[in-house]
């Protein structure tokens, strides 16, 4: 009971910090920015976070958290506008939304579909955020028992499970780039013995691969190159119609919400899994469990709700491992983690003791952002249609100029801009070859810490690896890592059923986009 009261006290303090006019204004502005960026095909929420991190340098930490979470929530939700109106998902996580949203728009129910999507996104965010605030204190208690060896194994587990959950590739490909990211994180002077490693004769690499320029390159430059490779112009769907769904449509919308929110939150908590997997998984389960499963992909409000609830529920889910173990649950959460590091906040088990209110600040901010998103989505819908008409051949080069400032801003080094370009090319090639950039990101983020934890653990046992097998929690984690490895190898050999299903659905969207069919 005392513990519950303490946690409620922290919640109250956090609410006090967030509920002030300037923070609320920042959240509102950030949500609108996120909605707009998320809606424009080719600009993803991850890219938005990467580009906008530099705007938070001059902000206080609570304001920076409010700004970034606002962009995050807005960015994930914004994808539904273009998915419904254009049949082009603004962000990858809205791909499943297009399956039902676009047919609804073609039937003249675009407005109702947008309301349905926004409402489902709102409910998904709220429910999973409540779950996050309830569960996180318990995870902190477990995480505090982890020492260097367990933390190292968790980092390895993060890479393994991220590879296993990759949408576009087999686990093997995910692991390849994940460990490549690990390697990139080892470049530079090592933290324990100050020994320079893998500098390739470039003195600027002494400080290592700077995280933010590398991430901006992989998600900004690579995205611009991928988008501008295609010539295809897109056309807007017919008129939107009314915003308000009928009673039966509302019932269909609400039916899958609790299940989809749970799926979204759970998938979000898996390192690197991300919003797109949550949406597809929820959609697939929703279709098989629904009494009207045959209506899915033909304009079903239930299908729309399945994907939109889950992808937004992922936001709070991804915060659980990020706040407790410093392992981001998605690429966007990875960006958020990088930004927190810039502001001197070090997520991990110790955060529960050093800054016990921080988790609730994050939770309350997400709740506020969800409410703001719900209200402002209807205000921005009409202008959004105009924004969607912006020529990408004009927009994308401007994005490149912004990535240059983003890469330069943190350390004021021209070298960082060059590094960003190199990682942009690497990201472009990897994307084209079907490798998961989320795995690479996770590797880059976790590699340095994994090295430190591993070597500190080894030093504690005088370099005797077998001594580390005497730690029960470590042994459990080791078994989990080995199980993930074996299941991943099986999946790689057989080819993942989930991946095939997703590929089939995405092919369906592409065919529709080409033919304009419903």
């Amino acid at each position: 009971m005392a513990e519950l009261l303490t946690q409620l006290g922290y919640f109250g303090q956090a609410a006090g910090q967030v509920f002030n006019p300037s923070t609320l204004l920042i959240v509102a502005g950030a949500v609108v920015l996120g909605l707009v960026v998320g809606a424009i095909p080719g600009l993803t929420g991850t890219m938005a976070l990467a580009l906008l991190i530099n705007l938070t340098y001059t902000m206080s930490t609570p304001d920076a958290v409010a700004f970034l979470l606002g962009v995050y929530v807005g960015g994930v939700s914004g994808g539904l506008f273009s998915a419904i109106m254009l049949n082009i998902p603004g962000t990858p996580n809205a791909a499943a939304t297009a399956l039902d949203g676009f047919p609804l728009a073609k039937q003249g129910k675009g407005g109702q579909a947008i309301f349905g999507g926004v409402f489902a996104s709102f409910l998904g965010t709220i429910l999973s955020c409540c779950l996050m605030m309830i569960l996180t204190p318990f995870v902190y208690k477990v995480a505090l028992k982890f020492q260097n060896w367990e933390r190292f194994l968790l980092a390895v587990f993060g890479i393994m499970i991220c590879g296993n959950m990759s949408v576009d590739s087999t686990p093997l490909k995910g692991w390849n780039v994940g460990f490549l990211g690990f390697f990139c994180a080892l470049i530079g002077v090592d933290k324990i013995q100050n020994t320079p490693r893998f500098l390739f004769g470039i003195k600027d690499l002494m400080a290592g691969v700077t995280l933010i320029p590398a991430l901006i390159g992989m998600f900004g430059i690579a995205e611009v190159l991928c988008t501008l490779q295609d010539k295809d112009p897109y056309t807007l769907s017919d008129s939107m119609g009314s915003f308000f769904p009928t009673k039966s449509e509302l019932k269909s919308l609400l039916k899958p919400v609790p299940r989809s929110a749970l799926i979204g939150c759970g998938v979000g908590a898996i390192p690197g899994a991300g919003e797109d997997i949550a949406a597809w998984l929820s959609y697939s389960i929703g279709r098989s469990r629904s009494k009207e499963g045959e209506k899915f992909s033909k304009g079903s409000f239930e299908g729309l709700s399945c994907s939109e609830t889950a992808n937004n529920a992922c936001i709070a889910g991804a915060m659980i491992p990020m706040l407790t173990l410093a392992i981001p649950g998605s690429a966007q959460a990875a960006m958020f983690l990088a930004a927190l590091n810039l502001h001197g906040v070090k997520p991990g088990p110790l955060l529960a003791t050093t800054s016990p209110t921080f988790m609730y600040v994050v939770g309350v901010t997400i709740l506020v952002a969800a409410f703001v998103m719900f209200l402002l989505s209807f205000v921005v819908t009409k202008p959004m249609v105009t924004i969607l008409k912006i020529n990408r051949k004009i927009l994308m080069p401007i994005v490149v100029a912004m990535t240059v400032i983003g890469a330069f801003a943190s350390r004021q080094q021209i070298f960082d801009i060059k590094l960003m370009f190199v990682f942009g090319l690497i990201g472009f090639v990897l994307r084209k070859r079907g490798f998961s950039l989320a795995s690479m990101t996770l590797g880059l983020i976790l590699g340095g810490d994994a090295d430190t934890y591993f070597r500190q653990a080894l030093t504690q046992v005088q370099g005797n690896l077998f001594m580390m097998l005497k730690r029960p929690i470590g042994d459990i984690l080791l078994v989990v890592v080995l199980y993930t490895l074996i299941s991943g190898i099986r999946k790689s050999i057989k080819g993942s059923a989930t991946n095939d299903a997703i590929a089939q659905s995405e092919a369906e969207i592409e065919t529709r986009a080409e033919t304009g069919e419903v």
Binding site: N54, L55, Y57, T58, T170, L172, K173, W175, N176, F179, L180, F182, F183, L186, D190, I192, Q193, T195, R197, F198, I221, V224, L225, L228, Q229, K231, N391, K393, I394, P397, I398, V400, A401, M402, V404, I405, F408, A409, Q412, I414, I417, K418, M420, F421, G424, L425, F428, R433, G434, A450, D451, F454, R455, L458, T459, G463, L465, I489, S492, I493
Partner: protein, 171 residues
């Protein structure tokens, strides 16, 4: 029409490259350990050595997966004059290469040598003209306005220093 996509060849070649890279990492790590004159397991080279082993293993596995799905045959088809000519001359590849080249010139040759807004204007105008984003005067106006807007917004709006500085050298 012959299928131009060769995913298994890509996996096979990437796997081989990864193995070569991983071996280089392992050799470098061992030499690093020797130079430090300490127990190898406690040296700065031990962890990268383990990462090298893992990369080598996953690289071999990827190459084998590629081979099992016909990657060797596909690779033979890829490394022919006809395929390479198609690869480097098709619309999508040419566009990606030229756009990357524009970025290279902007980042390596203009940024740091010219004030930010000037460098950005040249890049935007060149890229928009190449992409045929509009008539030349429209591209010119948009590039000028965008370069000025980005420069001013970041410098004065958000207080961020610009690479190459803010001032523009007027002729």
């Amino acid at each position: 029409m012959q299928n131009r996509r060769k995913p298994n060849a890509g996996d096979f070649v990437f796997g081989i490259l990864l193995v070569i890279g991983a071996i280089a990492i392992m050799v470098y790590s061992v030499l690093l350990g020797i130079r430090q004159q300490t127990t190898f397991t406690l040296s700065a080279g031990f962890f990268p050595f383990l990462v090298g082993i893992v990369l080598c293993g996953t690289g071999i596995a990827l190459a084998i997966t590629g081979v099992r799905h016909g990657g060797v045959q596909e690779a033979k088809e890829v490394f022919t004059g006809e395929y390479l000519k198609w690869f480097f001359t098709n619309d999508r590849s040419v566009r990606a290469i030229i756009l990357a080249l524009f970025m290279y010139i902007y980042i390596f040759r203009l940024i740091g040598h010219l004030p930010f807004m000037e460098a950005t204007f040249y890049y935007l105008f060149g890229t928009m003209m190449y992409l045929k984003a509009g008539k030349w005067w429209k591209c010119l106006i948009i590039s000028l306005l965008a370069a000025a807007a980005i420069g001013c917004a970041f410098r004065f709006g958000f207080g961020i220093n610009l690479p190459g500085g803010f001032d523009v050298h007027l002729p």
